[in-house]
Amino acid sequence: MIALFITFFAAVVILFLGLNKKESSFSNLAVVALMASSICSFCNAKGLCNFAILESWVPANMMLFGYSEHMFASLLAFVAAVIVFAFRKNDNLGTDQLGLIMFSLCGAFMMISYQHIVMLFLGIEVLSIPLYVLAGSKKDSLASNEASLKYFLMGAFSTGIFLLGTAFIYGGTGSLELEMMGIKPSFMHAMEGMPIPTLINAGLILMSVGLLFKVAAAPFHFWAPDVYVGSPNRTTVFMATIVKITAFVAFNKLLSTFGGIHNTWSGWLCVLGMITIVWGNLAGLVQNGVKRTLAFSSIAHAGYLVMFLLILDESKTWILWYYGFAYALASVLVFLIAHQSATDKNPVGFDMFNGLSKRSPWVAFALVVGVLSMAGIPISAGFDAKFYLFSFAWQSSPWLVGVGLLGSAISIGYYFKFIKHAFLVKVDGDETAVEYNDKGLMMLIAALLLLAGAMPWVLLKWVF
């Protein structure tokens, strides 16, 4: 709860104080506020401090922050702080984009802590509507316009489907509260002609479709590559990391509420996961653009995370937390290097990395760590994340794990392209050298990924 309050009030303050000022003079304040929400929710989870007064303002049947919710809020706020710091802009007039990012994060906090479907719905919308605007924030670029319109149409469409599912669930269970929904499916209201199990199943399927749209899982992923490519880099990273993790947390909560009828439809989720993994990785192989490749990689990661939904273990949220940590940091790192490497000569293609190991070896090293972590090579956090995920999912969905292993093997093909261009491709020498800012931040993220990969138990003992 504390994260939500700090982020929201900081967003309002930044939005109004910075109306006619440069964005760069407020981005530090935004980073401080986001770090503060991250640290406060971490301390709150650990019991080091208590903000019970805030909790009492919001009814517990609407939003409830338990231990894992606080931890996810802490992770998301931390990732958002890194994104805002790494992609800060110097030429923007007005702080509207900073404000929108932080409002969007408020929606994410609502989505991870919801206890009532109204809050889930509001969370999805509060998360998405600022992103529609942010996707189009490069006003003169046709690609950005297209990304914005496409994201908006697909988002609104999936919201409609999600809401129809909600209505069916409401009809089937007679309640919108998670607790009530779980315990009294098909209860007293013996109305004539009310096909209750059908309503609940149809509702669950429609709600899942709505959420799968948000995480860009196949076959509802078709919007993702275009939107990721067209949006400004900062928005793309936000969509690829925070939206995805949040949607999976919310999805997991929804599914575990309906644990009893889990078996009837875990089959098709499994199939969707397989399609997503295979499609995302195979399509990633044939892409030429860096951002397009990363978009398909994020689709493939959504496929791996479908496994997480199927794990039967009750206390499984730490797997998602660790996977989200590894995946989000690696994504931010790779996107940041790609963002700074892009020149007018090589705006999108892999050629932007040519000769990176000569030009600035440390950046090349950070790029390798980020890419290997996304691919899941040992001694990087991505490996441990995949290891935990696959080994826990093995019991409930062995076939999906098999496909996941195959997909990870395929994915090395396109992740290797980054390394090939950074280390092996010869350059003629007349390349204009790109100045890299924030080398310290890149090294810090790379070090975090390596440390978390080498000693995951330290992080996990500390966090869970």
Partner: protein
């Protein structure tokens, strides 16, 4: 004859069918029309079909939650329409058309 009994003469399943049909009209509109403004209208139709269903369930179950939800849906739909129209204006300024065939630029 009071109002509630009139409602109860219509079975709940009729409401389910009606809103599913309305929703499907909106859904197919989104899938097959090319004009972005008509797409927006179709999305509104989908949301309003859901509103109808929520009100019907709410009335039949004597539970106010569903009707409150309808207010939230209406508010969010208004916000979404505002953002959507703003995006459309942005697109129109750059391309001089409101056709979604423009969406092929990034070769989806």
């Amino acid at each position: 004859m009071n109002l509630l009994s009139i409602f109860n003469q219509v079975e709940i399943s009729h409401y389910i069918y009606l809103s599913t049909v309305l929703f499907s009209i909106g859904l197919f509109g989104v899938l097959f029309r090319r004009n972005a403004i008509i797409l927006l209208m179709c999305i509104e139709l989908m949301l309003n079909a859901v509103n109808l269903l929520f009100t019907a369930f709410s009335t039949y179950m004597g539970d106010a939650d569903g009707q409150i939800f309808v207010f939230f849906i209406m508010v969010v739909a208004a916000a979404e329409a505002a953002v959507g129209l703003a995006i459309l204006v942005l697109v129109y300024r750059n391309t001089r058309k409101t056709d979604v065939s423009f969406l092929d630029q990034l070769k989806g």
